[in-house]
Amino acid sequence: MKLSTKGRYGLRALIDLAFYGSNGHQSLGQIAERQNISEIYLEQVFATLRKNGIVKSIKGAQGGYFLNADPDKLSVAEILRILEGDFSIIDQASEEVTNSLTLCINMNVWEKIDEEINEYLDAVTLKRLVEDYKNKLGANAPMYYI
């Protein structure tokens, strides 16, 4: 059971953009280099984020992206729903539930997992992840000077 690269790379790129974006808009090339992600792939991810109003772009040679949302109000749940689509742990549309056995499993297991994951991801904001990132960079920064 795995998340797609779209969700994984997209979230990392957004944290990067929110962190470095205070210095002005960022080009995909800069984000790609810092996060070690293919720039071409990031273009696809950012097209999706732009369509959903999470980021805005400035065109031109000096262009780039900036965050178009309040990181304190933007939850990871919202970001992943945009990038990954439906966040259910099982394929809901696969078959209609007609027997009580499947119904019991759905109610007691799959729906509970969905609830727990959504509750957890709703509570994690982009701002919190940016702060975590800042702390991690700070804690590991002396390494670069040795």
């Binding site: 998340l3 994984r8 944290i15 996060q35 742990i89 019991c104 109610m107 297991v109 997992i113």
Partner: protein, 150 residues
């Protein structure tokens, strides 16, 4: 991010087995028929579940399957992880830090989030026992039976 048919069918099949092997062994054929699933596919799952010592088989004409332990001591997590492996949503949690493709695990800004998802999934899976699911199923079956007589 999905649980595959492996995990879903395994849980359904073991629950069905649990409900139908209380007194006698149950055949895979009957389970497959009731669940409307391929017997061959379920057989592959049962090989794994047997190795994990969640179910056991008895050979011969009167042979079949039953639970290897009481349903109170088998959780949904035991069954799902037996056939699906780890619930880690990303590879770098599953195989330890060496598998982190970026090599930047110390400053990775998202690893904790994926770890949080994995914990939530495992918490739910470990909190539901096969007995809980049997009780639910039997309460529903009872209700349905009543309806037939009305």
């Amino acid at each position: 991010m999905k649980i595959s048919t492996k995990g879903r069918y395994a849980l359904e099949a073991v629950l069905d087995l649990a409900c139908h092997s209380k007194e006698e062994l149950e055949s895979l054929k009957n389970i497959a028929m009731r669940l409307d699933k391929s017997k061959n596919y379920l057989e592959q799952l049962f090989v794994i579940l047997r190795k994990s010592q969640l179910i056991e088989s008895v050979r011969g004409a009167q042979g079949g399957y039953r639970l290897a332990r009481t349903p109170e001591t088998i959780t949904a997590g035991d069954i799902i992880r037996s056939v699906e492996g780890s619930m880690a949503p990303v590879g770098c949690l599953e195989a330890g830090i060496d598998a982190c493709e970026c090599g930047n695990y110390k400053i990775c800004p998202t690893r904790d989030v994926w770890g949080g998802i994995e914990s939530r999934i495992n918490e739910v899976l470990d909190s539901v026992t096969l007995k809980d699911l049997m009780d639910c199923y039997e309460s529903y079956s009872g209700k349905n039976e009543l309806e037939y007589y009305i």
